[in-house]
Symmetry: C2
Subunit: 437 residues, 2 copies
């Protein structure tokens, strides 16, 4: 028979079991922390009507969409989890309790030109808190506490949540007479961490911002100091613009509550350069960097927005949300070899019958271990003992229990710890306690 | 602004949070049991190259595929999890330890005409054990033990795993001189539970099977009795066909080991009428019925196959697998109101500050509860106390902690159990113990 060449498309992540276990471990930590803060699960379809999904989209986004027809339907694959959330809230608002706190972890699709670290199918892990008409600013302070808990539990400690407020920058631009170009200025500033101050100045000049104004912007963006110092310095500028003042008050309030939500001082900072590309955000914005690996870019970003579902309804749903791009993050962590010493097996124990005569006893032991919630495999194939042990070794299963005639007669099991090679004769109850402990 | 009407496509399940929690609870139980038996996680792309995905497909399946072009690529959405597994094993066989035990829980796509209970996007929850060249029959006995554990933990007790062996039916057909029509005969018998014996006979007549032969088939399929009785009766038929005899020996071996894997006698049975439509299966086949709700059809099916990846490679990968169609199952269980008394909230506790003055203290308590792995929400909006409590009630959050001036001064918290209305003044440690316990 002619064979088809088996292959997986470029830009689609497909992992070997060892890496898949690490990936799932990260996803489980994220989900656990989202649920610990009371976020409700949501699972929307990957396929939506193009009309609904692209109500807002345009430009670059639209070009990347996987869009196709099936029967008479014009369909698209979701490219983020925010548009489906907006649709969901617009449809179900009468059946939801507000503030509506939801998490969604799922795959999204963007037909980008595939290159290293760029995926066409990738996981986003989102939380959002949606208000019905209004939403307290305190929610904007809760987000960093969740980011903190997640990255802490993922084993990072040197990370910083960068916080800014869009009203501050927009107010400053108004004050500097840049209202008409504020979107462009914001977009250029957003590239600061990628292209540096000099190039930002060049780009600002290109859109006809005058030198003295550019200097004022740069001076502002470069304000240094600890959190409280920065706030003092900003206040001392005495910028008498309403938007700016509102933004500053909001920032102060958010900082106050971030501290109450117990985010350590070293894990957050005011960063006046954070703009976030999307014009969607209206208040607090976040980015998160792993400080020893800044080349990764932001690992968790988000912000406050005023109107989630404006393309579907006149009702106003303000919200705040953050997103972790897990596929890209995982890819980078693997590349930098930053996921270490993590469990890479599912099974805790491999039960190994020395010969076919030991099979019944071995299956019996396996059932008992499973009943006690020990993840257990039994080696059922008719192979040499060496091959059976190699199987455990190859999968990094931490313990094996070899069962032979002696074990059956004595009703004592030999537990071998694979890492140390240590062997002990134990009762099954002792094995259960040891492996669980 | 002109609004787009927000809608979700027909045939795509999208749940309200309460139902999503129930759905996820079922999915977690399935995943936990798959992992308890040492199955490794796999996550393959939803989009594959059409050439790869459809190497084997044809007929009805092919018509249902979501297939489209993007750039120069001819792409398709996966319609099951078996073909992606075959592709994965063909690509990665040199990097996998065999027997390769994998589970995959994910969405698959079939563009069926949408009707009640039929979904175009639905979850399949699969496990397979793949051998490299050969695979012990004992693996076919382990599958029912996993099915048993899952449906038991899902809260069903009156369910039966129906077991047959394709070699028995094929051998019988050979013996009856029906080798050439065996695929058709199998397909007709597979409809037995849907259309009944009479119609099966009519259909067999239509393909020119003679009356005496049909009588022999029916007589065989109607063999009654407990498991051991059935085996005896089949043996007494003295059918002297090699395939038949092999199938019977296999069935006896599988039954022996199913018992060793501790599946209770009342939860499995030999069912000679189980054929499974797919010609893919070569040995043991399974179907599972909830006996009080037989109208649901099989809730978990699968079987033994000889050659997983034959469309991609000359290497032989025999395997055995089962699949739970979770979306359809969930839909039926909701319709029959069979998911009861399950937790329908994520949060264990809602912390309610009586007034703005109580906010700081409340956030502090929330952080402490979360640090102790209590799923906790704090109500941050500026609303009347009644509205705050209504929010907890609407989401079925089991406990609330209302914090006012007294609580702050006494450093004692009022825990209200929502179901009973009972209120207690407790220290935070006692609350943690009570809620965890």
């Amino acid at each position: 028979m002619a064979k088809t060449i088996a292959r997986t498309l470029p830009g689609f992540m497909e992992l070997l079991p060892e890496d898949q276990i690490k990936f799932n471990n990260m996803m489980d930590i994220i989900r656990k922390n989202y649920e610990k803060a009371g976020f409700l699960p949501l699972d929307t379809p990957i396929i939506e009507s193009s009309e609904v999904l692209l109500a807002k989209a345009g430009g670059e986004t639209e070009k990347q969409i996987y869009r196709f027809e099936k029967g008479d339907n014009d369909l698209s694959l979701r490219f983020d989890l925010t548009v489906p959330l907006a649709k969901y809230v617009a449809i179900n608002c009468n059946n939801l309790a507000f503030p509506f706190r939801r998490y969604q972890i799922g795959k999204v699709y963007r037909g980008e030109r595939p290159q290293k670290g760029r995926y066409r199918e990738f996981y986003q892990c989102d939380i959002d808190i949606i208000g019905d008409g209004k939403l307290s600013i305190k929610n904007e302070a809760e987000m960093p506490s969740i980011i903190y808990n997640i990255f802490n539990e993922l084993g990072f400690n040197n990370f910083t949540i960068h916080i800014n407020n869009r009203k501050i920058l927009n107010g400053l631009f108004e004050e500097l007479g840049l209202t008409d170009t504020s979107v462009d200025v914001m977009r250029i500033i957003d590239k600061l961490d990628k292209i540096g101050f000099e190039k930002v100045c060049t780009e600002l000049e290109k859109i006809n911002i005058s030198k003295p104004i550019i200097e004022k912007i740069v001076e502002f963006l470069e304000i240094q100091g600890e959190t409280n110092e920065k706030i003092e310095k900003i206040e001392k500028l005495n910028i008498n613009n309403e938007k700016f003042k509102t933004g500053l008050e909001e920032l102060k309030e958010v900082i106050k509550y971030i501290r109450l939500f117990k985010v350590p001082e070293e894990n957050f900072m005011i960063d006046l350069t954070i703009a976030r590309g999307l014009d969607y955000y209206t208040g607090t914005v976040y980015e998160t960097t792993l400080n020893d690996y800044k080349q990764i870019g932001s690992v968790c970003s988000g912000g406050r927005y005023d109107n989630l579902a404006e393309y579907y309804t006149d009702k106003k749903f303000p919200g705040v949300g953050i997103s972790i791009g897990l596929t890209r993050l995982f890819d980078k962590l693997i590349e930098l070899d930053l996921i270490k010493n993590k469990k890479t097996s599912i099974s805790d124990i491999l039960v190994v019958p020395a010969s076919e005569e030991d099979m019944e006893y071995s299956i019996n032991i396996t059932s008992k271990l499973r009943e006690n919630n020990i993840k257990t495999e039994v080696y059922l194939e008719d192979k040499k003992l060496k091959a059976k042990i190699k199987y455990a070794d190859r999968q990094s299963i931490p313990y094996i229990v070899v069962i032979g005639e002696d074990e059956r007669k004595e009703n004592l099991l030999t537990l071998k710890t694979m890492e140390t090679g240590e062997q002990e004769k134990l009762k099954i109850e002792d094995i259960i306690n040891k492996v669980k402990g």
